[in-house]
């Protein structure tokens, strides 16, 4: 199904912290097609001095009583111009929202377990993934690392879906202190190879570490990468990442159409 471009209205903007917010956009038609791990390209619709759209994972798909999508949300973290504007957005503002784009995660079914690994705003794709896993009855865990207690969001959402939570913070203010890969590594020690699918999203060094851990424990691993994207449709070749897939020597592929979700074992990390 081709992506569509919705002139969406900001329905709500919930600020979670000084850097994070959740923006609700009236892009039901995009939500209706979105699979976990896919993204949208967003741009303020009115007189913005930014030119290009920016990529965002679809965080939640909001639904009415009948389960029909009514809106989507984005989990936004301030990083620069557009993300600042999304942080400050007021209800009523317009956002052009193009999607869904990219390859989704591959959900697994029991007896496989699904372990999600999120770093910071890398939590974004996992709300929809957790929902989809729950609806299939797949057992799921979320390893969730953040800078501090103040930046751990939506834990209740995952708890409600029956996801086992393992939290780490850099400052030790909640859960284990340090990187999220440490508890992941330990927990994988007790799992037979090939029984666990690992889904990761977060900063690339974290993704590389997770992919390494997964490989050592011989588990499958899908990572979602965040390269700078100019178009999201394969048109500009800006978003490339080096992969090792099959016979050819390592080469650049466009992460917007070959990804953003990749088999972690195939990526050649910088």
């Amino acid at each position: 199904m081709p992506p569509i471009d919705v002139d969406a209205t900001v329905i709500a903007n919930r600020r979670l912290s000084r850097d994070y917010n959740v923006l609700t956009l009236s892009a039901a038609a995009v939500g209706a097609r979105t699979r976990p791990g896919q993204f949208v390209m967003v741009r303020p619709a009115r007189m913005t001095d930014t030119l290009l759209r920016r990529p965002f994972s679809v965080f939640e798909i909001l639904r009415d009583a009948n389960g029909a999508p009514t809106a989507i949300t984005l989990l936004n973290k301030r990083a620069g111009r557009t993300t600042n504007r999304l942080y400050e957005a007021e209800p009523g503002e317009r956002m052009a929202c193009l999607g869904p784009l990219g390859k989704p995660y591959t959900p697994v079914a029991a007896p496989q377990e699904a372990w999600m690994v999120a770093g910071g705003v890398g939590l974004a794709p996992f709300a929809t993934l957790a929902e989809s896993l729950a609806s299939q009855g797949t057992r799921a865990r979320l390893f969730y690392g953040a800078r501090s207690d103040q930046e751990l969001f939506y834990l209740d959402l995952f708890e409600r879906l029956g996801v086992t939570l393992i939290v780490t913070t850099e400052d030790g203010s909640r859960g284990e202190r340090g990187r999220v890969t440490a508890p992941l590594d330990r927990a994988l020690g007790s799992r037979a190879p090939g029984t666990t699918m690992i889904y990761a999203c977060g900063p690339e060094p974290m993704l590389a570490a997770v992919a390494g851990v997964a490989e050592r424990h011989r588990q499958r691993c899908e990572v979602s990468v965040e390269r700078t994207m100019g178009c999201g449709l394969g048109g500009c070749y800006s978003c490339v990442i080096k992969v090792r897939d099959g016979a050819t020597p390592p080469h650049f592929v466009r992460s917007c159409i070959s990804g953003p979700v990749f088999n972690g074992a195939e990526i050649v990390w910088d």
Partner: protein, 312 residues
């Protein structure tokens, strides 16, 4: 009144003047779901060498005020894979395929053009003698009148397809390059390619792009591009294909009034992949308002007489 948007580039008839710019539309097929490729005037595919090229390591783009800089480095699948894997499907979709041809040497331009001439379904060859992002070839030819003449003459001999050298704006007198191209047998010229530019990250004191330098495109450059198209269109008789920052029908019309027979849209396609139908609708609306039957009538219709005072 049936409105006729068709234009001609030499022997090549296009249903309308809107062509996807090279490097901004992949190989066209990436957009087959969002755009009816046959409804575009043409699709100019990403620059091709004889063999595959890896391109530069990312970051490859950076946004700038009303523009962007790219240093993709002509990542590409090479002309043979293009002919085998992409061209048949583009033909199937009814696209008029312009191929942007690159070379490190004159021979390579000729070789690539020859392969394309033997293939079926190529509408025209755009000679990329203006890419600012690669070490050899490209802009080296495009910044030298002799280089331009040599590449064009050599390719001219090797193909019956329309040959359209793409000019760089990074020169003092772009019209002299259009003239050199015409004199060497070009069927048309296209311009502008991107402006050499850079952005420094002041926090790290390092470049924002791996390649340090890249090419500036987008609305920021449009007023310069329009001027250059006007200069070229007055200098040569062959058609001029204009581009640089076109985002809507007004912009496309501006280039056509300045003398462009057709226009290409690059960066704006990233901002809005549905731009094509919008610009077509805008052209149609303009023709209706101004009672223009044949869009080609406005090519070069710019009248440089000073404006009547705005405040009247």
């Amino acid at each position: 009144m049936a409105r006729d948007l068709s234009v001609r580039i030499g022997t090549l008839a296009l249903p309308n003047p809107l062509i996807a710019a090279s490097g901004c539309f992949g190989y066209g097929l990436e957009y087959e779901e969002v755009a009816d490729l046959s409804a575009l005037g043409g699709v100019c595919v990403k620059g091709l060498f004889m063999t595959e090229r890896e391109g530069h390591p990312p970051p490859r783009i950076v946004e700038t005020p009303s523009g962007m800089i790219n240093a993709i480095g002509l990542q590409g699948i090479g002309v043979h894979r293009f002919v085998e894997e992409k061209l048949p499907r583009l033909r199937e979709r009814g696209a008029r395929v312009f191929v942007n041809v690159c070379g490190s040497t004159i021979d390579e331009y000729v070789e690539v053009s020859r392969v394309l001439t033997e293939a079926e379904g190529v509408a025209a060859i755009e000679l990329n003698i203006s890419c600012p992002n690669i070490k050899e070839g490209g802009i080296q030819f495009g910044c030298s009148l002799i280089g331009t003449a040599q590449v064009v003459s050599a390719v001219r001999k090797a193909t019956h397809l329309p040959v359209i050298p793409k000019l760089t704006p990074n020169v003092t007198d772009v019209a002299s390059f259009a003239r050199a191209a015409e004199d060497s047998g070009a069927d048309a010229v296209s311009l502008v390619n991107t402006f050499l530019a850079m952005v420094i990250d002041v926090e790290t004191r390092r470049p924002t792009l791996t390649n340090v330098l890249g090419g500036l495109s987008g609305p920021a450059i449009r007023p310069i591009a329009v001027r250059m198209v006007w200069e070229c269109a007055r200098e040569v008789k062959i058609p001029v294909i204009g581009m640089g920052g076109i985002t809507d029908a007004r912009d496309a019309l501006e280039f056509m009034l300045a003398g462009a027979t057709a226009v290409q849209i690059g960066t704006a396609n990233f901002v809005d992949p549905f731009v094509w139908t919008k610009v077509l609708a805008g052209l149609d609306d303009y023709m209706a308002r101004h009672e223009i039957e044949h869009l080609s009538d406005i090519i070069g219709a710019f009248d440089p007489t000073p404006p009547t005072p705005v405040h009247a």
